[in-house]
């Protein structure tokens, strides 16, 4: 019969087995996969393309504004001249149109950092998909618990850490995969990469996504490991995603917000993920800003992951 020597329940083996299980489940449900990608795609495609902010300043929008001819008494000019100066309206209109699109471009550059809104917000969708994916994957433990799978797993000698890390790893992997899909789709739809973009930046993008995914999925794991019904965490996610997204720089720059909202946005980890990914893709890379982003992301990840892992560990070994 069995001897104890035949067992070697290592952390890595258990972690791999449990992660593989999750990934298999995920791949066997392509509908959910598509649904998860569809949501940010719809946001990106409809909102990103329709909120054509730079279009407001296009000369074509000014062409049908009729500007009358302007007559100025010559005595007002410096130096004064005799008679009346007549400036034709069309000339002014042409001048204004030219100035306007230049001003517009400047405004876009100054507030959004890029000249087209689509690129700006398409990158923001990465944050959106990271949030929803990690939250929902963390929550899958509710089902594991309801269906007895979790009890079964903890009755085996597998490392408790493997159970927790498999969930986090799976959530992180999904978030990374779906972000890749979203960014690829955004590129096809017209995302403009900046001149500072190099292929190495992609490593940075994944690092940023990894940090936030680990943080968010651990805290959600701890949150849902105690609930017996899916409804509660679901409602919570529904409640929290909207404000998290709008009180961040996903859709609009923080500088345009009222100060109370700026405060929220500055403690919102999504702000830093979004900015980091933007810095690395569509913006002219500012190393100092990127360092701030990564520092904040690391702190968030460390705090959330610690709380999440400690709480989950406590539950599993109770």
């Amino acid at each position: 019969m069995s001897s104890l020597d035949e067992f070697n329940p290592s952390l890595i083996r258990g972690l791999w087995a449990l992660t593989l299980r999750e990934l298999k489940k995920w791949l066997k449900d392509p509908v959910m996969l598509v649904m998860f990608i569809l949501q940010p795609l719809i946001w990106m495609g409809l909102l990103g393309k329709s909120m054509n902010i730079q279009g407001l300043f296009l000369s074509s929008n000014l062409s049908n504004i009729s500007i009358p001819n302007i007559q100025i008494p010559g005595s007002l000019l410096n130096p004064p001249v005799n008679g009346v100066i007549n400036i034709p309206g069309t000339l002014i209109s042409k001048q204004l149109q030219k100035m306007f699109s230049e001003i517009g471009l400047n405004i876009m550059q100054n507030t959004f950092g890029v000249s087209d809104y689509f690129s700006y917000m398409a990158v923001g969708m990465v944050s959106m998909i990271v949030t929803t994916t990690t939250m929902f994957s963390g929550m899958s433990i509710v089902w594991d618990r309801r269906l007895g799978f979790l009890n079964k797993v903890i009755s085996t000698p597998v490392s408790r850490a493997a159970i927790i890390f498999a969930k986090i790893l799976n959530a992180t992997f999904r978030a990374m995969f779906q972000s890749t899909v979203i960014l690829a789709l955004a590129y096809i739809l017209g995302l403009k990469l900046s001149s500072t973009f190099t292929w190495i930046n992609i490593v940075g993008v994944y690092a940023a996504i990894f940090l936030l995914s680990v943080g968010l999925s651990s805290i959600f794991l701890a949150f849902s490991i105690r609930s017996t019904r899916m409804e509660r965490p679901m409602q919570f996610v529904g409640l929290i995603t909207m404000p998290l997204m709008f009180a961040s720089n996903i859709f609009f720059p923080i500088s345009l917000m009222p100060s109370w909202m700026q405060t929220i946005a500055r403690i919102n980890p999504l702000t830093y993920l979004t900015d980091a990914v933007r810095q690395l893709t569509i913006l002219q890379l500012e190393p100092s800003a990127l360092i701030v982003d990564f520092t904040c992301l690391s702190i968030f990840a460390a705090i959330l992951a610690t709380i999440g892992i400690v709480l989950s560990w406590k539950y599993l070994t109770k």
Binding site: F7, P9, R13, L18, D29, L147, N151, S155, P157
Partner: protein
């Protein structure tokens, strides 16, 4: 009797500081036997099993499995036991084979051995031809068998079965009993099971502990338990129209005699031994016995005697009720 493989002393579990689920129970399970915990819903059976399989920590008391302390050496315990929970825990999105291999990975069984063993076990539970089908498509009985196979992947010395036939139909239940008996016979496995089906405890268990309100009320072999409530019922009819009550009463081991029409209902210990003695006593006095039957008391009487007849308004935890509901629902889903 072999040595003790499970030993519990004053094992207690209190939930939320007030709900006493298991109340200072002590018992031993011998090597190679099937030991059954029998009791109504909410009696504390599952809580006890969960403590023994190291899923729950006891509030008080201690227990050891194969000499390993269930709290201090939990990981050693986990290695030597097999667990078949009440619920269907297999992952529905994976195939039967994938599920068994997942269990093997959790135990850290080397891949080569695990593959061979998984196929053997699938054959044992007659699921080999369905091994690459998703568990989603399995019937209740097939799922139960898969759970059994998963619980055996580490060749456990002790197998824990929690309500092994909950929600199964009669045929599937009988088949499951056969598997359990084979495990005991062919592998000499010790089996600890809980059930609230009397006929199941009677058919399978070598020894039974009747548990109620978190306490063990009585322990013994099924026949000891049946004897404990006063023995068998012997029914005798005599041709002659004379009252022979006194003759019967004088026989050793007879406890009670009641005459109804022409039939004497006799409550006696060891019915199969006492009945011939009664017949002989009557025959010597020239009475002719025309009809004789011996009825053993069923576990039914034993059970009701000890747990009372009142229907339980269970104050079970919400969670365990929910688990039962889900299991029943899934067992009946196909």
């Amino acid at each position: 009797m072999g040595e003790n493989v499970i030993k519990a002393e004053g094992l207690t579990k209190i939930f939320n500081k007030s709900l006493v689920a298991v109340d200072h129970i002590s018992f031993s399970v011998y090597d190679g036997e099937i030991f059954g915990f029998l009791g109504p819903n909410g009696a504390g059976k599952t809580t006890t099993i969960n403590m023994l399989i190291t899923v729950l920590k006891p509030t008080e008391g201690k227990a050891s499995v194969l000499g390993y302390d269930i709290v201090k050496q939990a990981n050693e315990v986990r290695k030597v036991i097999g667990v078949v929970p009440q619920e269907y825990t297999a992952d529905e999105d994976l195939t039967g084979y994938e599920n068994i291999m997942l269990c093997a990975d959790l135990y850290g069984i080397p891949r080569g051995i695990a593959k061979k063993r998984a196929l053997e076990l699938l054959e044992l539970v007659e699921l080999l031809e369905f091994k690459d089908k998703r568990v989603e498509t399995y019937s209740g009985g097939m799922r139960r068998r898969l759970e059994l196979a998963c619980g055996l992947i580490n060749r456990p010395k002790i197998l824990f079965l929690d309500e092994p036939t909950l929600g199964l139909d009669v045929q599937t239940r009988a088949a499951t009993w056969d598997y359990i008996k084979r495990l005991k016979k062919e592998y000499g496995m010790t089996i600890f099971m809980t059930t609230h089906y009397l006929e199941e405890a009677d058919a399978l268990c070598d020894r039974i502990a009747i548990i109620d309100h978190g306490k063990i009320i009585v322990t013994g072999t099924p026949s000891e338990l049946k004897d404990s409530i006063g023995g068998d019922i012997i029914a005798i009819s005599v041709k002659e129209d004379v009252d022979v009550t006194e003759i019967i009463r004088s026989v050793e081991n007879v406890k009670e005699v009641k005459k109804e029409d022409n039939t004497y209902w006799i409550k006696a210990e060891k019915g199969e031994v006492t009945a011939p003695v009664i017949v002989e006593a009557l025959w010597r006095r020239n009475y002719t016995v025309t009809r004789l039957s011996i009825m053993e008391p069923t576990l039914n009487e034993v059970y009701l005697e000890y747990t009372g007849r009142a229907i339980r308004d269970v104050e079970e935890s919400k969670e365990s009720l929910r688990i039962q509901r889900i299991t029943l629902m899934r067992a009946r889903s196909r």
